[in-house]
Amino acid sequence: MLVGRILVVGGGTAGWMAAAALAHKFAGTKLAITLIESAEIGTVGVGEATIPHIRHFNATLGIDEADFLAATGGTYKLGIEFVDWARKGDSYIHPFAQFGESVDGVPFHHQWLATEGAGAFEDYSLPIQAARRGRFRQPGGDPYNYAYQFDAGLYAKYLRTYAEARGVVRREGKVVDVALDGESGFVRSVTLESGETIAADLFVDCSGFRGLLIEQALHTGYEEWTHWLPCDRAIAIPCANSGPLAPLTRAAAKQAGWCWRIPLQHRTGNGHVYSSGFLGDDEALEVLLEQLPAEPLADPNRLRFVTGKRRKQWVGNTVAIGLSSGFLEPLESTSIHLIQVAIGKLLDLFPTGDWDPLDAAEFNRAMALEYERVRDFLILHYHATERDDSEFWRHCRNMTLPDSLAYKLQLFRDRGVVVQYREGTFLEPSWLAVYLGQHVTPRHPDPRAGGEGVAAALAAMRAEIAATAEAMPRHETALGMGA
């Protein structure tokens, strides 16, 4: 039996991204794609901030950038600003670009570390310098990348229009029952509140945290990571824009978590991610309201989550994508990215009807690695801190790290070497931005670094970057929003 019918359970960002990508790839075939969603069930709309991979996703679908930005209130994003993480008063930016250039064949960061008076590390990043000035320009030939910040609800709508135009059938309704095949354990059909039954060959579970199929029906189990990432609540409130539009997502550390600020064209997204073990819900709201830059535009939306991942994300004929597959807090804007990676791997390993268990095994292997490597990167932000001003931070400083991260951190601390790998989202420049941004300073410089003429080469690099950033247009101008 060939896969002829796909049922996506759940709309929202994950559901419509999956439906749009499937519809695009299988355009012109007999594959029938249906998506069930219920207007009664709210969507989380995670990840209004993204990383540059989203551009590839949109480009593959043939989405025009200007059209997409207009439809989603989108803005350009050159990085994430981290405020107060290692020490109160700190600010550093994680850009989507490498820092500086190697000198005498020695990697830039070694040269910078070995050179006295070489200024700040961020002086060597064009996107950071542009972001600090509120400026943006398409990279052209310059070696940096960018992402977007947008209204995830509007993005889902946009993709819904895209998907429906390509044959995806949207069904309104709430799933009340799931029928499994007695022999194979595969999902055969779902029953809606109306009593109608919808059968399919492949089920994509985009039902959010509860995992309607992957967990409630298939009991896959969940691997919890709260001992490393203790935040388990979030409150979100949009507010009006005020001041210039930053081409940046902001993540400011608080006493038991952190607050996000995401500037869109029509509003600013705000939220507070915190740990209920260290902070009450009312206090958490106060923390968020205190730092709101303008009047709120809506009531607070409260969320609960358990950080971790589903033990398997593909079981039988069900593939979990989005929050049903796991949750990692949006500190590095990875929520939409993880959706995208899962969609890409599903397309790569798209079942051909004989359901070779190897497909699921490879999907689960690759996704687990992806999740674990993002997880390690997130833990680094909490652990590499000198903050001693709350129980929460003392807990983070003293926690036992996963071995994989302890090894990476030790190697950088001793020797300034970043552990590199092929599979995974964040590469050397990202790790450098966070290590150095959080004052993880290598004890021993590279023996090759700091030769004659290095200081002059660094000064020239710095000057050129500052001049180039200064010449860029303002972010609003780049978006065509007028003055």
């Binding site: 075939t29 190697l411 020797r415 552990v419 092929r422 021993h444 590279d446």
Partner: protein, 473 residues
Amino acid sequence: MIRSIGIVGAGVAGWMAALALGRALPGARISVIETEGPDWSLGPFGPGEASLPGFESWLADHGIEEGVLLRAARGSFSLGTAFSGWAGQEADWFLPFGTIGAPIGTVAFHQLAARLRAAGHPLRLADFSLAAIAAASGRFARPSADPRSVLSSYGYGLHFDRTGLAETLRTATGLAPVGRFRRALGDAGITAVEIEDGTQVSADLWLDCSGPAALLAGRLDSGWESWAEWLPCDRAVESWNAVEGVPPPYAHAGAFEAGWQRTVPLVGGQSGALLYASAHLPDQPGAVPIAQGRRTRAWTSNVVALGAAATLVEPLHGYNLALLQNALTRLIGLLPATPNGPEPAEYNRLTASEADRVRDFAILHYKTNARTREPLWDHARAAPVPEMLAHKLDLYASRGRLPVYDDELFEQEEWIAVLDGQGVRPRRHDALADAIPEPQLLAHAARIREVIVDAVRGMPHHGATLREEGLLA
């Protein structure tokens, strides 16, 4: 802080290390110590050596002109390796340096090919590789830098004799050997090496470039992991045949009942290495035993084993030189900043991982062989393989997918070229390939062939290029 480096072995590995380390640490004193016998620093695999694409940039980065090396070392160009007798006693295939075909959208070419095969159109992947077609017609020109041109779709390796290569590298270092190795001193590490005139040479860091003899690393507790259960050849015989005329622009690996024969064609002759399993062939004149495997800890104490002293693996493709090149880059990025630092552990982790993936690539040729009624080959086909390779093979056999792990030297395309050449056909193909109408696929394939064949027709013969560059009279 490293102020002095001692290198044991004045062959290809030793001089390459001296050149690379000398550039990275201009203030360090480098002492190169010769050893007895032929240069087996990359293994006893013939007087000629083959590189993968990328070596030419390494040379340029280290101040060596490609032409200078080729003139000194009977050099010629390579577009890949021809394999005969592996996919069955009479079957041939080619592993090219370069891309094969072109995708449609995100659907890989080999998936399109699988779909066409399923529809009854037999085709071979290598027929869609410019490097393979050019090699078969004896043509060679350097690739184009214009990414829009099909002439940018391939790379090239170099063939040269190891004596000329070692001498060219040495000249570039401006150094001469300090003497000949007599013995090493020290137990937990190497404190000094005594040379034949009785002088004791000391160094902060020692590089063991002495080949399988591993004169330094072998004295330390560095461990050895044997690959004999998967790679059955345990003898090698080197040879040299003088041949006039134009060398073909590719290396050759020809399987026979008890092993295989490597040929690296040079200007004026062919470098040969016969590799065989002693259990299946009586001992041949000139045979030397080889123990394939890798050192558990290539860097132990103050000794880093490089080349065949670290990893000894039969040279099915030009990866031994690439392993050495990567080891040097890795070592330079991890030069110890303090005694007892974390560098050796990270170096060993990466080195072991890379070597094991190359091991898997070599085992692949045995596991997927189709020679029948010959005990060595029948056994190799049936025997289990390491787990990560097994996962790759299973996934490929199932649907033509091939995961590429961390620290892999070879990309997906090379693995697929070998699998396809060996006749492994995935049971299913990518569902996305079915979304493309058959006539469009056929037109796509025909167009690629046409563009490649046209481009190859316009390429000079290998001999003409060699003459043009003064490499062949």
